[in-house]
Amino acid sequence: MNTILIVGATSAIAEEIAKLYAGQGQRLVLWGRNLNHLHSIQNNLEVLGAAEVFCFEIDLDVCGKHADLLEETVAKVGAIDIALIAHGVLPDQQTAQENFAAMRASLHTNFLSYASILTVLANYFEPRKRGTIASITSVAADRGRKSNYVYGAAKAGASAFTDGLRGRLSASGVHVVNIKPGMVDTPMTAHFKKGLLFASPKTVASGIVKAIRKNKSTAYVPGYWRLIMCIIRSIPEAIFKKTNF
């Protein structure tokens, strides 16, 4: 049995992941900023078969609290085996272009808070010489695009950070998984028109759980996004800059 920490556990994708782990009878630790919602998730996971579920309330934007809460968590639940970081926001590109405060807030959540938590987790796992850190970035990290480069840039930062951390931790046997979901039908994309490329959180969750089990370095979920992004990356900039992606 593993103890799995989920950071940003109220995310729709994270919740599906937690359900899969619950079905396997794992222990789950949930971090999120809405305790009521965490408790709803906890009830569900318990019925689904989780060995134990613990909830901790935290606004993840407050980076100074990350280390303390990890300490408090470990003191209460014991050692962590797997940590998954899932929180995030999708800023409105237009608003971000016009309003620096809005842009900064999203960069803060999507990049700085990731950098902070990844570091806190790395410092926890490194001396223990085992464990897995999985970080949800995005296919948006693979190329800056006109329609959402503010989000994409933060995700690219988180993605590079995750990859670098993998190098740092490889000597100590800690696995670091960079998870790049494609488009997923969740509250984050509620206002989008859903085309064929949209996957359900359930499908994406099972891809993520599999990637973690197999100690993948980078996982595109669903897998066909690897090919799509390969094509998108290979479009010459002279053409790409004129597209509306």
Binding site: N36, S40, N43, L48, P187, K193, K194
Partner: protein, 436 residues
């Protein structure tokens, strides 16, 4: 956005969609638009639609809250699907207290239409098994409704077509089973009379009864069909295997001509002829027994872009045979009949639901491809016969009955109106109360 449709894909409706994911939600403010909860859209007509207005999409509010494995009492959020419930409970030796012909419906939908299943003659409707639910009104009020407390709201909400407020969670009792299998007997019958005898004879010893009936056959073959009766397999059978997810999806809308009267006739004849002897015994998994249509995702697209209708009514036993025969004659003559016509008798168990559809008698459900005017005319003709027999049509399947017919068949509708949340409405309700 046109994401939320009804199963018959008729009528088309456009509405603002507000997902609700958490049971501590408040009813989202929709300005001057009225709102209606929407589960998984397995109602056929317009009872789950709110054209030009707003829908609360509840399928993301789908968490278990508590499950007592000893007493079989389950509490979950209202957007939970029967599909997910079965995956949890079957391996633990429990089954749904009653279930419709698809597992892709929500608990909220099961309550709001007070659905019935193949065990109605023994177990009544879903509402008979509900022990409690929370109802959230647009003014923010939360009411715990049980058979003992807030009884009026409890009764109005069961079968209340989503109009009394948003059910956030519900608690209901399950049925204990030893395994995932059903012992099934299929018996060919030659007419309504024989069907009624078989029903009567099976009412006590058989938990599940349902029949397929050939609604195309005329003359001597009229009313022929196959009576199916089943019981949960004995405890000596151990497997509690859960159903698998559907593997096939109907990817496109079939051309309208695919379902013409010839293909329907061939299907019915072959289906009847497939079973060669009068009696066949078998042991089947619960999935093909209860949910044969669930094997194909989005099978409703087979009926093409224009969509299709289901017509389901109930008529009292008294004079039922003659009325049913008259109806079958009209349908056969219309040459519009359907692939899957299902006939069953309802039992006496009374539901708490104020507007519930089932009453003791015979119920028949048929699919009809949408052929426009001629199909609608046929339904009006059927309504007349059903009304004369003192019967009624099932709102969950209806897209077209007249306000006049609805109000005569459900005279309690006025008392029910008192319990409607002032911000809630539906396409169906506007149609059958104001005729618009």
């Amino acid at each position: 956005m046109n994401r939320c449709q009804s199963w018959g894909r008729y009528p088309k409706a456009v509405q603002e969609i507000r997902p609700v994911r958490w049971r501590d939600t408040t009813v989202p403010n929709s300005g001057d638009k009225s709102i209606l909860p929407y589960g998984l859209g397995r109602s056929y007509g317009d009872s789950c639609l709110n054209d030009g207005q707003a829908l609360l999409e509840t399928s993301g509010m789908n968490r278990f809250i508590a499950f007592d494995e000893t007493s079989g009492i389950l509490r979950c959020e209202a957007g939970m699907s029967l599909d997910d419930i079965l995956k949890l409970i079957v391996p633990k030796g429990w089954f749904l207290p009653t279930t419709p012909g698809t597992k892709f419906i929500t608990v909220g939908g099961a309550i709001a239409n007070d659905i019935h299943g193949k065990n109605h003659h023994i177990s009544g409707t879903f509402g008979c098994h509900v022990r409690a639910f929370e109802l959230l009104r647009s003014d923010g009020n939360r009411t715990l409704c049980t058979p003992e407390s807030n009884t009026d709201l409890f009764k109005a909400t069961i079968g209340g077509l989503g109009l009394t407020g948003l059910i956030t969670w519900a608690e209901f009792g399950l049925k204990k089973v030893g395994n995932a299998w059903i012992d099934l007997e299929s018996i060919k019958f030659t007419g309504i009379g024989e069907f009624l005898e078989l029903s009567k004879e099976s009412d006590e010893g058989w938990e599940y009864t349902v029949s397929w009936i050939d609604c195309v056959a005329q003359g001597k073959s009229m009313g022929r069909g196959i009576f199916m009766r089943g019981n949960h397999s004995p405890a000596s059978v151990l497997s509690r295997k859960v159903h698998a997810d559907p593997k096939i999806t109907a990817l496109f809308d079939c051309p309208d001509m695919m379902l013409n009267s010839l293909s329907i006739k061939v299907f019915n004849t072959v289906y009847y002829g497939k079973q060669r002897t009068k009696y066949v015994r078998s042991r089947v998994h619960y999935d093909p027994f209860f949910y044969p249509l669930d094997a194909v995702n989005e099978w409703n697209r087979v009926y093409g872009k224009r969509g299709f209708f289901q017509y389901q009514f109930v008529i009292p036993f008294n004079g039922g045979k003659e009325t049913m025969e008259a109806i079958l004659r009209i349908i056969a003559a219309s040459k519009q009949g359907s692939f899957l016509s299902v006939i069953k008798t309802f039992g006496k168990k009374v539901s708490p639901g104020m507007l519930s559809f089932p009453k003791p008698g015979i119920t028949l459900a048929l699919d009809f491809p949408n052929r426009g005017e001629s199909t609608l005319k046929l339904f009006d003709e059927l309504d007349t016969v059903v009304a004369a027999a003192g019967g009624s049509v099932y709102p969950a399947k209806d897209a077209r009955m007249s306000a006049d017919f609805f109000q005569k068949a459900y005279p309690q509708w006025r008392d029910f109106s008192e319990f409607i949340d002032p911000k809630f409405s539906s396409s169906f309700w506007r149609r059958v109360t104001t005729g618009s």
